[in-house]
Amino acid sequence: MPQAATAASGSGPTDKDESAGLQMLEIKNLHAKVKGREILRGLDLSLKAGEVHAIMGPNGSGKSTLAQVLAGRDTYEVTDGTVTYQGQDLLALSPEDRARAGVFLAFQYPVEIPGVSNNYFLRTALNAVRKYQGQEELDAVDFLALVQKKMQLLHMDEALMKRAVNEGFSGGEKKRNEIFQMAVLEPRLAILDETDSGLDIDALKTVAAGVNALRAPDRTVLLVTHYQRLLTYIVPDYVHVLSAGQIVKSGGKELALELEDKGYQWLGEPDLVAGA
């Protein structure tokens, strides 16, 4: 069992707030299968409030699987391990309750919902979250005011709000829309699955600014990415390498540079490393 996984639980950034440094997510020995095949094989990861973690790793290593398992997709069967989110058993919650409790997933492939306006969709989502958290639901007017602020932040075209959710959006617009939704929903734990892929340079900067604006002592971001490029804009506190369903190496932001330089091969054959 590689020790690397526990590196993340070392000292976090300096406390700016009493919630910073508190445990946000604790994954222990997570095993998950899809269609009978084991994809996650004893994954450990610990994230504290206020931190930004990046997960990198070869294609097919299980990054999206991890993201989907955390969000509660039932095509993935968790066979062993625990996930504790803000002190509660995350795996016991339905996908919608996880979302309402503050877990947000920016999808690698955002889904189109024809006929349902982005505006209506997002208001329904926000009000479901607010209701769960004991806050008052927003009416159309208050919602609009909120949305307009967030649209400016992400340079979102107002026309996109009136269009159906992701329908006919360009690849980049879909990704930007994910971050826009995140900005409106203000989650505690944001998981971004390859939000940078498909973005042009300007869009990348805008999206990064959107994420950075959300960085807060009581919020944690988990970025899945293949490229160092994103990490120059959103500077992570920790970088982890996921290979064959396990975290095989963890380090600081400089690890991403090293990976960019050397690839994943130097970490050894994934199967050897993962063969616990």
């Binding site: 979302a99 889904v111 919902i113 349902v116 969709f121 989502a125 479901a128 979250v129 769960y132 929903l185």
Partner: protein, 486 residues
Amino acid sequence: MSTQAQDLEALANKEYEYGFVSAIAEDVVPRGLNEEIIRMISAKKNEPEFMLDWRLRAYRQWLKMTEPTWQNVHYPPIDYQDIIYYSAPKTSSDGPKSMDEVDPELLEVYEKLGVPLKERGILAGVTPSVAVDAIFDSVSVATTFQAKLAEDGVIFCSFSEAVQHHPELVQKYLGSVVPYTDNYFATLNSAVFSDGSFCFIPKGVRCPMELSSYVRINSNASGQFERTLIIAEEGASVSYLEGCSAPKRAKNQLHAAVVELVALDDAKIKYSTVQNWFPGDKDGVGGVFNFVTKRGKCLGKRSKISWTQVETGSAITWKYPSCILQGDDSVGEFYSVALTKNHQQADTGTKMLHLGKRTRSTIVSKGISAGVSQNTYRGAVRMLAGAEGARNYSQCDSLLIGDKCGAHTFPVLEVKNNTAQVEHEASTSRIGEDQLFYCRQRGISNEDAVSMIVNGFCKEVFKELPMEFAVEAQKLLGVSLEGSVG
């Protein structure tokens, strides 16, 4: 089965809400069908000679016809001698003279259905938005706001009243769009129909409120055969809404209605239906056989007839609201949402018959199938030789929920004028597990997500419905889906 699928299943098995039976004394004719019964119905209604003649001609024609079998639905043979062809609440044998004479029990039934029959709560100087003709089994029991409408010359009454007070209009237009020889069920209706709604909008009048009929089948083992006739004279316009429900009965009930619309020059008729007959239970027992003929004739130049239907009920639906586009530059539209679940079967669509020059038609059909249901779109667009420069656009989309249901599309195109243009688009999709998960990941419950996705799918049709009806339709769709999605 995944938990999502189970939730959906639970959602779809929600009970039919309008299944109660009312204990109302009824006046019925003996079971079965023969000339004697038809004479009896006609006599009960005190009809003029021409009506009885017409009924008898229809009956004799019907005896020579055979039940159609081309449609994609399956049901056990109907015993036409086991149907009661006339059933009316006892108190209204002469028809109530005013709302005060309507049996309070009946008013209560409609109240329970959410259909207001009391002309109350209307502020002085404010025009009410909807007038209702309530049909209970075989007869119309109440028509609201008749006096108010009469100020504009609008006639809105039961068919029986129209036969008594406006026989010349009835004689002129009855059967002018759907002749008594038309088809097996329409012919049967012509022989035995007992009541229905009648509207006449005179020249140049925009009907000041929505007109509506609410049809309720109550009695057991009866058939429901109502007939509606709407005439819009030159430059007149009207929006008509139709709703319906029936109690839960273990036996199938036959509903064979006919609707005829006539639009003269520059007239506009918009006919919207929300059909929520008892669909049978989840095992397919009981439910209404909805075998209906609806047709509009755009007789005048630049006239327009628009059908919008939301079909969620009935064990079997067999219905093709159609337009005969005879006047030059006339327009026909058909917007449809048909939802089937459990063992329901729907074979529905439209016919657009282009006769006049530059006639245009639009067809938008959205079929949603869940459970083990079968949903068929059947449409015909015919451009005849005189249809110079005519155009049609058709779009048929099917949405499948689960993998045990079926969606079928049978479009027929016939173009006999080479300047005419037809365009047809079709799609079939499955409600995506990925769409549901995406919604749920944003905090939206599974149930709300299904209803949101289905409503999104139907949006183009819902936007054609009058406002309050659109809201009703959306709710109905949500309720209908509860427990049926798997």
